[in-house]
Amino acid sequence: MMTKLYLSLKYGAILIWSAFVIAPFLWALTTSFKTASGVTGGPTYIPWLQYEPSLSGWRSLFSSGAGGIDVVKPYIDSVIVTGCASLISIVLGCLAAYGLSRFTYRAGFVKNTDLVFFFVSQRIMPPIVLAIPFFLMLKWLGLLDSKIGLIFVYVALLLPIAVWILVDFFNGIPREIDEMAILDGCTPFEAFRRVILPNSLAGIVVAGMFCLIFGWNDFFFAFTLTFTDTQLLPVAVVALNSSVTPWWSLSASALISVAPLLLIAFVVERFLSHGTLAGAIR
């Protein structure tokens, strides 16, 4: 019973919510093109009409020294740490999830489902609980303030997500396909590599995406465990907060932090809806 009123209410609600979600980005976008003078004296929104747009905020991202915040190095550090951690998590996650999906483990009363829960439950803890243990561990290993140390920690945090998503996907692939591959001459590992993995692309992509997003956005552990040698993007951006906050540089750096994730999401969404992945899963 789609009456006109109901439809307009529905679309109205969607528009309002969209506006709510997009507003911060719009604000950051417009602010990033302002200069010091543009920020003082009342809020202004529309470029060229209400204020003069300038690229100074964007330029400062690349220069170090006075007024510059050099976002390039933190950017690279973030990419390396998040990328490596996600990659390792996916690889280990695939192997763990396949084991949990296909083989039966018993240790007393602990069964497969308990093991999966054990993995997933790592994420239930508030991060702050882990702050001190991780700090101490990395200190003892001499890995504080290093990319490698951070990668270790991130793997510990991202692996549960990967396992959780992948176990579900592997369970959706009929066991008979594994058997068919083995009958056709593949060792169990070959069967995994040649048959199961190609059919789990969707799952791997989704798990990968989650890992990248959670890893990239992490502020807490990057803040606690690194100081000067290694600086990740979220930390670098927050560090801009001082008595005189360069809002335009801040906005620009905030936007640039989000950009890679947007790009990945865009590419994956195209990929998924294209049916390339959908066909592989049936």
Binding site: I177, L183, D184
Partner: protein
Amino acid sequence: MSLQLHDIGLVVEGVAHLDNIEVEFERGRLTTVLGRTLAGKTTLMRSIAGLQRLDRGTVQVDGRDYSRLPTWQRDIAMVYQQFINYPHLNVYENVAFPLRRKNLSEETIRQRVDAVLEKVGLSAFERRRPSQLSGGQQQRVALARALARESDILLLDEPLVNLDFKLREQLRSELRSLLTQQQHTIMIYNTTEPVEAMLLGDTVVVMHDGRVLQIGTPARVFDYPASRAVAQVVNDPPMSFIEGRKTDTGLELTRSVTVPLPPHLRDLANGNYRFGIRANELRLGGSTLQGRVTFSEVSGSETFLYLDAPTGPLALQIEGVHVLEEGRNVGIEIPADRLFAFELDAGERLLAAPATGAAS
């Protein structure tokens, strides 16, 4: 080359899924394993493939213990009930998959794949993915992959059961010609349908409750079922059983129904037996017995009538499609010369069988 199963046993949670199985299979022969669901056919097949661990017994190929070999080193091809193909590969690659594992040349692979796809009628679908094919076509791909391998052993686990009626009919005949061409392979075919066992097998192995009840040619098993259990498995629609007594003059089927003594039962000792008669040998009309229709079922070009009679439940097969309403009374004639006689005790062995029909 021969495949021998020796004293195979498997017990799961106190229930014997396989018990004391002793069978030998020869190269170039097609053996059907016939039994109801849960008779142990699939378990047996999976044991041969190495996918199922056994409690007892050995699987030997040419005298060598096969169970030492992991599944991927055995030369076995299998076709499942559910159409199993590799979803991420097209038809050509699906069929070529096992051949690639064997490191054959690209030339050889192409030749074999093309030949097999031709045989199953899928040459035009080489580039398609399994998800784009119908059920029947998917099963043909699975079959093509199994045949292209030219393996030592070919296992087919009720491959037609998930197809609809007409398709099953068609593929059955095709399978028969495809499989009889394989001269170097040991072929084992699981089924619940007696028709398939009759049609396809050189030999039929009848299984029930994890045991092998009888092994023989289709004609042998059909005309001389070793026991009542075999007769039940081998006849669809089911054989009707009537408890009765043999005297010097005739067979007393109930207090009021007596049929004359047929020649083939004359030598039986007088006493109580369980007599059996096939559904298509009971006749409608006649006055031997009165029965009440409980259900009538159409199957293909025949109608099966299920009746309640003083002698117990009966199943009757008539030609053509005839719908009889429930509750209707019909007269039934029991031709005594077509009766089987089984012992009444535990084994329920066959004691006498009617003469077989005219030779073909």
